[in-house]
Symmetry: C2
């Protein structure tokens, strides 16, 4: 008996990063790998108390089937949360999703046909590339500098494009993997260019609330007046990932399409998880947690930057993020971070290789470092090890 | 600005049933609509206690990212659960999914191309039809009698098929919507025919544990020795739907494909929910809950059958389920249950129209009645109202 599979299933690749991350289980190794939030921040007691309260007061709802668009309490709470961070959205503009990754998946199903052109940043989020690649999208990459996606390159690409791209995918705040934030000027340019060429913007925004330096920039959703923008949000980085909860923000006609599609994908996101997190937001605890997270991550980021300054040899460059969880390192072009990965493991330190974050596999001399999970001491020690390893192969 | 959508998105239809179910919110109306478990069965206190225990003892795991295949504790607990109901499966044969609907969605992505032929029962589960239709499958229907799918018709169809169907989709136990159970003889015939023509079997099995009369039949998974069968399971009917948790059982090579695909779909199912339910099973509470559910639903089924006998006019036929949540009613062929739906609403009773459960929209004279949610008194009263309405239009 041989099973026959779909053509689509041939586009599915096992994540190269997941494959090599298994080496990071080596005892004593310090990993700057996965973008895991620091589990010391998890409000365990608060969640246990709220769960009890939810089950006591509306357990029949919490454990029953819910609405595909999301429980009304949750949708309302999400609007409250966004308002607290400067974003206006009405309940009609929101659909709850079972993780931001599901948002990317639904987005891909709604917009992508075989070889549909779309615009992505170089580098960009691996999970997005996985979803887009599964739909066999024709990804067109735009370079970035310290102010985010280069707008002259974007405009040139759009003006020369034979087929109109279906959307422009950007992570404007503390981008994963680069740590770069798009300036306000660029955001406004992006909106104008997208408008001119009639291409919607997808604003993936998992880290926006986690700014450690300077003023929070207005979201593209906000600057555009909620037109022509689909925003993806998640609890995974600002609270915890273990409940797999995200939400999509868009014009009502687009939200309707997400909802109808989601019916056949998973019917609804767990009501149990929604009612717990809705209560957490309503009680004002979300804002507190985010403040704590910022206090936890800022010194970690500073420690990583300081250690890089102190230990890295000349010829190595890195980004200077103002928030989020990641920074991006460029080694001299002669070095392939995949080839030297096992050398790093021998030095008891791990990173994520950079090439998989490029739609076309370039960036072989790059790596992503995450500072959110390891302790301050591990960050200092780990960067010293990493620098020693880099020096050993230069 | 106009958005351009994918071709696939054109196959997405808003569920006709969901549209008409909004009428059932009328005060005083008795609904035999959605397949909701009785919320009086939900173990609220037990879940609150277990949640506290999970957060106390392994909260860092429960709220962190989990493994795509499922948390090891959960996979182990699922094997234990299946064993208790006569099914052997090793951990390698199991992948946790975020609802059985996600199982259907992943299955569709893995197996279906445009116009891929597949075999479905007539009638069959609406959520499966939605998923298969979204992938534009070429669905071929096989009739059923009181012993399930007709094997002579299946063999004839397979022998005459130009293109080999990718799978045979069946719900052998207390089928949704018909309430019919496939006999052991038919199960063995199905395995032999599937083997002969080299077509895998998809065994959707949400209700199997809920048998009220007679002996539990061996699953197709069991009878086949775990070869050539993909089994879909869920907690939604045997415990509660609010945590959106299901699992897929199949040969290891197939499970690997589900896992890799699931990475780009939602990364993983909530660890929080998995660790809670794993503990619920480990403590032996699942078996107890199922016993309670059977004691709750059996009298409801009996009451519905008795009331149908008592009140329905001649010319109306219905199935006599031995378990599950549904029974199937056939009115005289001249009657269209969609056309008379509003008349039923006027009589303060609601059902689900039957045609959407057929891949080709036939069965206009049929309806599905669910007895799991309403009380015994509501069942008696509701069937009397329904019978009165049917008499009024005959």
């Amino acid at each position: 008996m041989t099973y026959s599979f779909s053509n689509l299933s041939k586009n599915i690749r096992r994540s190269e990063i997941r494959e090599i991350l298994k080496w990071t289980r080596k005892p004593g190794l310090i990993s700057f790998g996965g973008g895991l939030p620091d589990s010391d921040l998890f409000p365990l007691k608060e969640i246990a108390d709220i769960t009890k309260e939810v089950l006591d007061t509306k357990g029949y709802l919490a454990l029953q089937y819910g609405q595909t668009k999301g429980e009304p309490e949750m949708v309302q709470a999400l609007c409250q949360h966004m308002q607290e961070f400067g974003d206006d959205a009405a309940c009609e503009n929101v659909c709850v999703v079972s993780s931001s990754q599901q948002g990317l998946d639904l987005l891909s199903m709604l917009f992508l046909d075989d070889q549909t052109p779309i615009i992505v940043e170089m580098p960009t989020y691996l999970g997005a590339l996985q979803a887009f690649r599964r739909h066999n999208a024709n990804m067109i990459g735009i370079s970035m500098d310290n102010d985010g996606m280069k707008m002259d390159e974007l405009e040139k690409t759009l003006s020369e494009s034979e087929k109109q791209p279906r959307f422009i995918y950007t992570i404007p705040d503390f981008q994963n993997p680069s740590g770069i934030t798009m300036s306000v000027e660029r955001r406004n340019q992006l909106i104008a260019i997208a408008e001119k060429y009639g291409v919607p913007i997808v604003e993936d925004s998992p880290y926006r609330e986690l700014r450690y330096i300077g003023e929070t920039l207005p979201s593209i959703w906000k600057l555009s007046g909620g037109k022509n923008v689909i925003m993806l949000k998640t609890f995974s980085k600002i609270l915890f990932p273990g409940m797999r909860m995200g939400w999509v923000v868009a014009e009502e006609e687009i939200i309707d399409k997400f909802v109808v599609l989601k019916q056949s994908v998973d019917l609804c996101t767990p009501s149990f998880n929604q009612l717990i997190l809705a209560s957490y937001i309503e009680k004002g605890m979300m804002k507190e947690t985010i403040e704590k997270a910022k206090k936890c991550y800022k010194p970690k980021k500073d420690a990583m930057l300081k250690s890089l300054e102190k230990f890295m040899p000349p010829g190595v460059r890195w980004s200077k993020p103002e928030g989020g969880m990641f920074l991006w390192v460029e080694l001299p072009e002669s070095i392939d971070t995949k080839e030297i990965f096992m050398t790093a493991i021998e030095h008891d330190v791990a990173y994520v290789i950079g090439a998989p974050f490029y739609h076309d596999g370039r960036g072989k001399n790059t790596m992503r470092l995450s500072y959110s999970f390891p302790s301050l001491e591990q960050i200092r020690e780990g960067i010293e090890r990493l620098a020693k390893m880099v020096k050993s192969i230069l």
